[in-house]
Amino acid sequence: MFNAAGWLILGLLVYFLVIPAARFGNWSPFGALTTWEFLWVGLQVTLFVAVFSVVISTVIGFCLALGRLSNNSLIKTFCAGYIEFMRALPSYLIIFYVFIVFPKVGIKLPSPWFAIIGLSLYTSAVMAEIFRAGILSVEKGQLEAAYALGLKPFHTVMYIILPQALRRMVPSIVSQLITLVKDTSLASIIALQELTAAGRQLYEYYGQTAGKPIVLETLFVVAAIYFVICYILALISNRLEIKG
């Protein structure tokens, strides 16, 4: 009985949501190549911002994690303070702050770089916590054995701790990557010309010129593009998790 009800609900959803959307939506603008070219320009900016933010925030996050684990209390306090401070703030506020306040101080950069800075400030703090938790999750005996063998702290981390910690960190790192890709859309609220902004301009343009509005259709396409990127990342994460 339960099973049949489930399939019935699924059928009703498809019948009343998916089929009308496909039949009555105004999909004609998406038959034109120019629409896709327009979205592709936006997607390029999204990917550019995401890739650079990932690289920068991973490097900074790793340094912060090591700093927080170091014995030097000054470095430790600074890194811990930075991490807790940034993690407690909305990423939207940080991006906004960079976009609004940096130009006032006299720092002039192309807008993708403002987005990269803002996202990296936030993501590096989260990455740092992931790295730290990963490093701490390695059994203490490993560290002691490495020291007993005479390895330097740097080599211990690079050759003993990290290879073991990395496997445990992969799911967290990838889910933070997914969050990062999604967070690039926040920059579009302010000034960045990326995928979501392109979609918004597209439906605003079609709404002003003649023709049916294509708000939902465009947003669906934009969401689908984000979905494909994020879902592929999630699948890769699952594969790595099973292997590791």
Binding site: F2, N3, A5, G6, W7, L8, I9, L10, G11, L13, F85, R87, A88, L89, P90, S91, Y92, L93, F96, Y97, I100, V101, K104, V105, V126, E129, I130, R132, A133, G134, L136, S137, R168, P171, S172, S175, Q176, I178, T179, K182, D183, T184, S185, L186, I189, T196, G199, R200, Y203, P213, V215, L216, L219, F220, V222, A223, Y226, F227, C230, Y231
Partner: protein, 249 residues
């Protein structure tokens, strides 16, 4: 004296904009809490339902639940907010409503709903992993004692899972409070929105947004502390490594 006054007007003391418009910021904080509160309730209900759908033996319900979670987790919250605020009215759906003399604006309803659905997908995953962590023998024993599926969930599985689920949920809701900042883009009068308003009136950009940073800290730091206490209380052994599985939302 007149010259002094003019000089004061030309360069008001640092922080005066924040002091003058303090009520705006406080109202903004209240709105942020308000949105988060309602979104938390709605998202918990959604998450619970979806998680239960996913552990039922029905294939169709499972597909619905998986589609829901994967869609809402893998698309940006901002796009979802746009769908609910700009997209649904095109279909003739307005989300604002009135209840007991309180009118709920379109912005508030759409924003809260989007936030709740987005967070609900994560809540569902958190609850599901809590449910799956309960040994299978527990539910099998309950079923063999003659309890129905719903009774098994209600009386045996859920009470045990709550302990496992509470700390991750705390993380999620703390992240949700931060995510609510972007609802200012559709006109929910939260802290970010009020900051923009004050900024437009005073042009004291630097101090306004610096103040907003501290207002947000005043909201999120106590919450983070509370979550940390939850972790310590319910999962003292895992509290250290739990951040590894913290909320990336």
């Amino acid at each position: 004296m007149i010259i002094l006054a003019q000089a004061n007007e030309a360069a008001p003391a640092f922080g005066s904009a924040v002091v003058t418009y303090l009520p705006n910021f406080l109202w903004g904080m209240l709105m942020t809490v308000n949105v988060s509160f309602w979104a938390a309730i709605v998202s918990f209900v959604i998450g619970l339902v979806v998680a239960l759908l996913r552990v039922t033996p029905s294939g169709g319900l499972k597909i619905v639940a998986i589609a829901f979670t994967e869609f809402f987790r893998n698309t940006p919250l901002y796009v979802q907010v746009l769908v609910f605020y700009f997209g649904l009215p095109k279909l003739g759906m307005k989300l604002g409503f009135e209840i007991w003399g309180w009118s709920v604006s379109d912005q508030f309803a759409a924003g809260t709903l989007a936030l709740a659905l987005y967070t609900g997908a994560y809540v569902a995953e958190a609850i599901r992993s809590g449910l799956l962590a309960i040994p299978k023998g527990q539910s099998e024993a309950a079923r063999s004692l003659g309890l129905t599926l719903l009774q098994t969930l209600r009386l045996v599985v859920v009470p045990q899972a709550i302990r496992l689920v509470l700390p991750p949920l705390g993380n999620l809701y703390s992240a949700m409070l931060k995510n609510s900042a972007l609802l200012s883009s559709i006109g929910v009068a939260d802290l970010m929105f009020q900051a923009e308003y004050v900024n437009n009136r005073t042009f004291a950009t630097f101090e306004v947004y610096t103040a907003v940073v501290f207002f947000y800290l005043a909201l999120t730091l106590p919450m983070g502390w509370f979550v940390h206490r939850l972790e310590k209380r319910y999962n003292p052994l895992r509290a250290k490594t739990l951040r590894l599985q913290g909320a990336h939302i």
